[in-house]
């Protein structure tokens, strides 16, 4: 385990360095620069030049990259260009909201996928299996932006059960916050839940076809016990990989979902940052996303090897 971490950590760091380089370059490849968005629609070239030099955008690229890394290492990310305020505060606020959304969605993914998969894989009644099949496929077949708008129309405008969008602090107003969270989390969770349910169901079915299950059945072990004690655990490793992949989708999907539900998270911040070419915000944020992702992958791999001892620590 320790050797595992020792091997993985340096490579994780390498990914971060590479990512920082990529992020920096990609942002500058995208046309349009922060000075023009700061200067506004009717600015003259003089104003833009003044702003460019104030922001240090007239420096050579390498110098800009170095000074960014310097700021990162010093821990003080400095002010944002266009959005206003300190980058640290902006990311801090957004992170809280996105963490709520993503964790809420993740919980829903597991809560939806696990029963569906077990039901679908083990039910001897064909209509049940077919229904599970239809649900998982149907959910996958509707784009999330349509699901989101439909959810709002049904639950907010139609039945007036849930607010159409917005956000409350989970600490200050937990009961209200849960209602604000419900629809965006569900919208975010549905496609991932369907994917996970599908893999899990396949995994369980495959495990049920294995010899040892036949042996166990022959030995008189109850079917319920076989599914929960034997088949499901054997289907978990690959499901965890899928779940790990889905976390990436959840974070990426947050951009769309946060937009539809006016959820003030990192997805919104990143979009704002890109739209206004707020380099510091986008750079720091993308790097953070990569870092979180790398950490999640590390944990996924740990879980994977822990769940399936046939795989050696490498």
């Amino acid at each position: 385990m320790r050797t595992f971490l020792l091997k993985r950590l340096p490579s994780g760091l390498l990914v971060l360095v590479l990512a920082s380089f990529l992020v920096f370059l990609i942002l500058r490849l995208i046309p349009g620069d922060p000075a023009t968005t700061l200067a506004g629609p009717d600015a003259g070239p003089a104003a833009i030049e003044a702003i460019r030099s104030e922001l240090g955008l007239d420096q050579p690229l390498f110098g800009q990259y170095a000074s960014w890394l310097g700021r990162l290492l010093s821990g003080d990310l400095g002010p944002s260009y266009a959005i206003g305020g300190q980058v640290t505060d902006l990311i801090g606020n957004g992170l809280g909201a996105t963490a709520q959304l993503t964790l809420g969605a993740l919980l829903l993914v597991v809560l939806i996928a696990l029963p569906l998969a077990v039901l679908g894989a083990t039910s001897r009644r064909r209509p049940v299996a077919a229904a599970v099949q239809a649900v998982t496929t149907g959910v996958l077949a509707i784009p999330p932006f349509v699901t989101g708008v439909l959810l709002v129309l049904v639950f907010a405008v139609g039945f007036e059960l849930l607010p159409a969008g917005g956000h409350e602090s989970l600490l200050a107003e937990p009961d209200l916050a849960v209602q604000y969270l419900a629809m965006p989390a569900l919208c975010l969770a549905l496609p991932s839940a369907a994917v996970l349910a599908r893999y899990l169901k396949d995994g369980i079915e495959r495990a049920l076809a294995e010899d040892y299950v036949r042996t166990a059945t022959a030995l008189g072990v109850s079917r319920r016990r076989i599914v929960w004690r034997h088949a499901l655990p054997n289907a978990l490793p690959s499901a965890v990989t899928v779940l790990g992949l889905q976390i990436g989708h959840l974070v990426a999907g947050a951009v769309l979902v946060e937009r539809i539900f006016a959820w003030p998270g990192l997805g919104q911040l990143i979009e704002q940052g890109v739209v206004r070419r707020d380099y510091p915000v986008v750079q720091d944020l993308l790097l953070l996303v990569v870092a979180v992702y790398v950490a999640v992958q590390l944990l996924t791999d740990l879980a994977y090897t822990w769940l399936d001892p046939r795989i050696r620590w490498e």
Binding site: I30, P31, G32, D33, T36, T37, L38, A39, G40, P41, D42, A43, G44, A47, I51, E54, P79, A82, I83, G84, G85, L90, N93, L111, P115, V149, V152, A156, V157, E160, L161, L162, P163, A164, G165, G166, E168, D175, L176, V178, Q179, Y180, A182, Y212, R224, W228, R229, P233, N234, R259, I260, A262, P264, Q272, V275, R276, R277, L307, P309, R310
Partner: protein, 529 residues
């Protein structure tokens, strides 16, 4: 050989059940209080008899403020008149009314203006407002970094003569016909904290509300300024501006009563609310909703003004207004709204939908099968507009290749004058004194514009219209007519339709107004029970 598959302990059914119950419990807890009701009641207890004191008005907007553009006309001008005040404000007929200035007198030669200021005004910091703050405000706009569109007018002020703390004379280099546009535009900031203001950390003004909290990309919260100079105002305890980028979600927030007021509902959505008694709809001629096709006059083919005129004849403006703007807008081939002194019926209807005439002009110019690049911003609305224009142009033999572009890229191309042959956008500034359009709005700027159009005749007539002290004499109107004539003849900006801001107010929100620059004024606003 390998070990048989291990059978690790799986989550037991009981554990799963427990997890499920916990989730259900959370929802039950949620059942105690409804967030929908909570948001709706945030305005406070019910109390009959308008206008009513108290409550928090929630405004929905699609785009966050850009702090660096506080002193410029930008996409979000909701906060300017909440936190700050201007010197004067226009009535419906462009006649100035007192705000921080109580009286004014322009010298007969138009070279100076003397302002009498209110003496009972305090900044949110507690400091008293004096003539010195007006001096600072004018100098602030002269700073190019503030990107103020009316900088040219501010720059015409060359000297300040103070007569006590509350009287001030501005000395001008030359007469300007749009002086009161400047006074309508220029907010008076606290000079000690102006850098904090453009950095987005602190806003200190003299206005009816103080900024208490800003969550970038999400919301702005304001509390009542208890020391506001306008007695008994504001009625509201506070204002919240909520940023909801997705148009459908913004509409839903109004429908569910989560927000009370918005100026960012698309015309086609307004059309669906028109019959709903829950909403009151009020169009303003304010804002940057004058749709146009810009032409790069140095590009191939469109350098010929007959081709540009052909484009103007080719567009079915009525269909554009119906399909892209939901009917909220008026077709016009000139930039002026009906409230403008430069508006004429003949100018507005100069170009109509006449494909045959367009084809004839193209034949005459020897440009019968053209393919031109056509840029537009990549949001849904502008993309629909561009597709309509593309189709109409195709009918007269001009094929276009659409170039969806994101706003910062477009802006950079506009400023660096590197636009493709055609593009579609919208502009503002025509709702004011006509000279403001030609000296302040970039598309029409006589000295430098994105069309790369220059003409001595245009420069001459614009300068004469601007360098005069009156703005509504027969000579002034004559000059405006000549500006219109040049614009209609040259068509470097092909005007299509004019759509101002549309106020959509839920049934509880009353008394909100906008000034000519779209600054939201909530002095007299209140929420009914």
């Amino acid at each position: 050989m390998t070990a048989p598959p291990r059978l690790p302990t799986a989550p037991s059914r009981r554990a799963l059940l427990r997890a499920g119950l916990a989730g259900a419990g959370l929802l039950t807890l949620a059942g105690c209080r409804s967030a929908v009701e909570h948001a709706r009641n945030a305005a406070g207890a019910a109390d009959a008899g308008p206008p009513r004191r108290g409550g928090v008005l929630t405004v929905a907007t699609g785009i966050d403020v850009t702090p660096s553009l506080l002193f410029a006309q930008s996409a979000n001008t909701l906060i300017q008149r909440l936190v700050f005040n201007t010197l004067t404000r226009y009535d419906d007929r462009l006649r100035p009314q007192p705000e921080l200035a109580t009286a004014w007198e322009v010298s007969p030669d138009g070279l100076s203006v003397t302002l009498r200021l209110r003496e009972d005004v305090l900044f949110h910091s507690g400091r008293r407002f004096t003539a010195e703050d007006v001096v600072f405000a004018v100098r602030n706009l002269q700073n190019p970094a503030r990107s103020a569109q009316l900088r040219s007018t501010a720059a015409a002020v060359t000297d300040f003569r103070r007569n006590g703390d509350f009287e001030l004379t501005l000395v001008l280099a030359h007469p300007v016909s749009n002086l009161f546009d400047l006074f309508e535009f220029m907010i008076i900031p606290d000079r000690d904290s102006v850098e904090d203001a453009v950095a987005g950390t602190r806003l200190i003004g003299t206005g009816p509300f103080t900024l208490t909290d800003r969550k970038p990309g999400s919301s702005l919260a304001f509390a009542r300024n208890d020391h506001y100079w306008n007695p008994g105002r504001p009625y509201l305890d506070g204002v919240e501006i909520r940023i909801i980028p997705q148009a459908e979600s913004l509409l839903s927030s109004l429908r569910t009563g989560q927000t009370h007021l918005s100026y960012n509902v698309r015309g086609k959505d307004v059309a669906t609310l028109r019959t709903d008694p829950q909403f009151r709809i009020h169009p303003y001629d304010t804002g940057s909703g004058a749709y146009y096709i810009g032409v790069n006059t140095t590009a191939e083919h469109v350098g010929d003004k007959r081709v540009r005129q052909a484009i103007a004849w080719a567009i079915d403006r009525d269909r554009l207004v119906q399909q892209a703007l939901g009917g909220y807008g008026s077709v016009s081939s000139a930039p002026w709204p009906t409230s403008s002194p430069a508006y004429t019926e003949a100018g507005a209807t100069h170009y109509r939908h006449d494909p045959d005439r367009a084809r004839a002009l193209l034949r005459e110019a020897g440009a019968e099968r053209l393919t031109l690049p056509f840029a537009h911003t990549n949001e849904a609305g502008p993309t629909a507009v561009a597709q309509i224009l593309q189709y109409d142009l195709q009918q007269v033999g001009i094929d276009t290749v659409l170039q969806p572009t994101d706003s910062p890229t477009m802006q950079k191309q506009l400023i660096s004058q590197s636009m493709p042959a055609l593009w579609s956008l919208s502009h503002g500034f025509a709702q004011l004194h006509p000279a403001t359009l030609a000296v302040s709005a970039y598309p029409f700027n006589e000295a430098k514009n994105s069309s790369r159009f220059t003409s001595p005749a245009y420069t001459d007539v614009v300068q004469r219209a601007w360098n005069r002290s009156d703005s509504d004499s027969p000579e002034a109107l004559e000059l405006y007519q000549r500006i219109t004539d040049v614009l209609l003849e040259e068509q470097f900006v092909i005007n299509l339709a004019i759509a101002g801001l549309i106020e959509v107010a839920g049934h509880r929100a009353r008394g909100a107004t906008l000034n000519k620059f779209g600054y939201l004024n909530l002095d007299d606003a209140y929420l009914t029970a």
